[in-house]
Amino acid sequence: MSPARWLHMVWRNLWHRRLGALVNLILLALGTGIISLLLLLQGQVEQKFQNDLRGVDLVIGAKGSPLQLVLSAVYQIDAPTGNVPIAAVKSILQGPMVGGAIPLAYGDSYRGYRIVGTSTTFTDRFETDLAAGRNWSAPLEVVLGAGVARATGLELGAHFHGSHGVAGGEAHAHHDFTVVGILEASNSVLDQLILTDPASVWAVHESAVPERSVQWENPSEWPDSLDLTAVLVQFRGRMGLFQLPRAVNATPGLQAALPSVEVNRLIGLLGIGTTTLQVVGAGITIMAGISVFLALFLRLRERRRELALLRAMGYHPWALFALLLGEGLLLAGIGAVLGLVLSRLGLVLVNRLAAGEFHWSFTAEPVPQEGLLVLGVLALGVLAALIPALMAMRVDVAKALAEE
């Protein structure tokens, strides 16, 4: 029997019992799809967390949840814990263990995109250049992340008003921001931010704006009279990890959060949910395997004469084995492909939700583990068909043909 004829017969057999095969396929696709989607998301979420963490060893902010502080200051996906007076952090930041400090003043937004007052070194962490225009040099000048520019349609020279909070609160109608630059896409949190000088944030909130231009790269230059929402700190050496958090936490009203610790804890928490869903996906896939086995096994009896006929027509017992095994394999193959398609459709849905909530987007690029997943599903198909295939080889030809 030629491979093409084998495939034809396998396909015709599946098509002949298409309703049962459809149930098998739905289960296979569902199980594979859930696992595949989790693999896609897990890898990208972890990568995204690590990417956005670049150059940040410590976050200083107001007392509260350290995880909330990290999520709001580094990933811009949570509410800030409060403000900290510059006077309180300045002495710490001028210490020998601090390699660099980036001020953050935030709390406003434009169409859901956060406006962050910071220094121009903020973008250096992401090794991203301007795609157009220049950096801000005066209050109320802003640079847009690539995602913001694309979503809002704002161009160089455009003016807009910010709103209080991130959920479209009261508009700050008396203060016009002007777009002076647009950043290249960096596939990081930067793409979703509107960057400006911290003085812009104070101006909008009608705080006292420093009269002179501030060198934000140097903490000693920071004006004592104002507040920041958080400060991103880079250690000069390893000792910073042991001494700086202690020093910060000893200061009234301040807390230090180690992003790597908080992120690992968060990924750990997410991991419990991910593992649970993976177990559910694996369970559905195994059930699919059992359903394939049952379908082939239960049909063996009604197919006895067919199988005997094939033997009588000159088909080798191994040809019958290959036919049954082929049915399991083809079902598993189609199920795996459908599962991968399903995971991509799921990703579109997740992207819609994540775009609305966090301005995140995930790519459908295959991950290596998906190859292993497909191989696993194919192996399951073979395993499910193995016993029926072996039984098909042992059919009593004369007895089966004598049956009516």
Binding site: R5, L309, L310, A312, G314, A398
Partner: protein, 248 residues
């Protein structure tokens, strides 16, 4: 063409069966008669190489089937023997056409291999329209087997038997091909079988308890109900010319 010697078969339970020696030449017709349970179908399966005899030999074209390996026996059967059953089995998922070509397709290899099986399936494909036309099933080739009537299934089974082997089978074995049919259908199937065998030059062996076929076969063997083997073994083999033969 077909020759058996001292053929015996033993089921796991029940008495062993012994069969008369048979000799059927190419183009000849042998009718094996007997009541239910006397071993007619067992004999047919022994002749087809589907059962292995406890003792004795079945030779077709000088080849002793019991000396072949199971795989070689399957191939040999596919190339040289056509089988027709009272209730012919079909692969339900395949079209009538694909069912008719099961045997040549079994030996088909990859297109590039250039083996005999490919030439055989090519020949079978060429012969298919003629045979299907002659048996009146040409319009039914694309249908699924369950859509066929009883008569159409019988004719399709005969067509399938004729398509085995490079130029048709050397031996056609039919098991109760007419027993469940009324007189008119019985005549039609009998005529088709005899005509098919005559045209292809194949030997025809029919096992049946249907006495209506008797006048149309020049060779007849009547099996008696199963007897133990050994000295008490009995069977009655009668070889004689048909009485009141009708045109085939």
């Amino acid at each position: 063409m077909l020759q058996t010697r001292n053929l015996q078969y033993r089921y796991a339970e029940g008495p062993a069966l012994s069969f008369p020696d048979l000799q059927v030449e190419a183009g000849a017709r042998l009718l094996v008669l007997g009541e239910s349970g006397c071993g007619k179908s067992t004999l047919l399966h022994l002749l087809a190489g589907l059962l292995k005899p406890a003792s004795g030999t079945v030779e077709l074209r000088g080849t002793d089937l019991s000396r072949l390996s199971p795989a070689a026996r399957d191939r040999f059967r596919g190339r040289h023997i056509g089988l027709v059953y009272q209730h012919p089995p079909f692969v339900a998922s395949l079209s009538v056409r694909d069912n008719l070509l099961l045997s040549p397709f079994a030996r088909q290899r990859k297109a590039s291999a250039g083996q005999d099986g490919n030439a055989e399936s090519k020949t079978a494909l060429e012969r298919l329209p003629t045979i299907a036309e002659r048996l009146g099933i040409a319009p039914l080739l694309q249908r699924l087997p369950h859509k066929l009537s009883v008569g159409e299934r019988q004719r399709a089974a005969i067509a399938r038997a004729l398509l085995g082997g490079p130029g048709g089978p050397d031996l056609i074995l039919a098991d109760e091909p007419t027993s469940a049919l009324d007189r008119r259908r019985c005549d039609a199937v009998r005529e088709l079988l005899i005509e098919a065998a005559t045209n292809s030059g194949a030997a025809l062996v029919v096992v049946t308890h249907d006495d209506r076929l008797v006048p149309h076969f020049e060779q007849r063997v009547e099996l008696t109900p199963a007897y133990p083997t050994g000295p008490a073994a009995q069977h009655r083999a009668q070889h004689h010319a048909p009485q009141n033969p009708e045109p085939a």
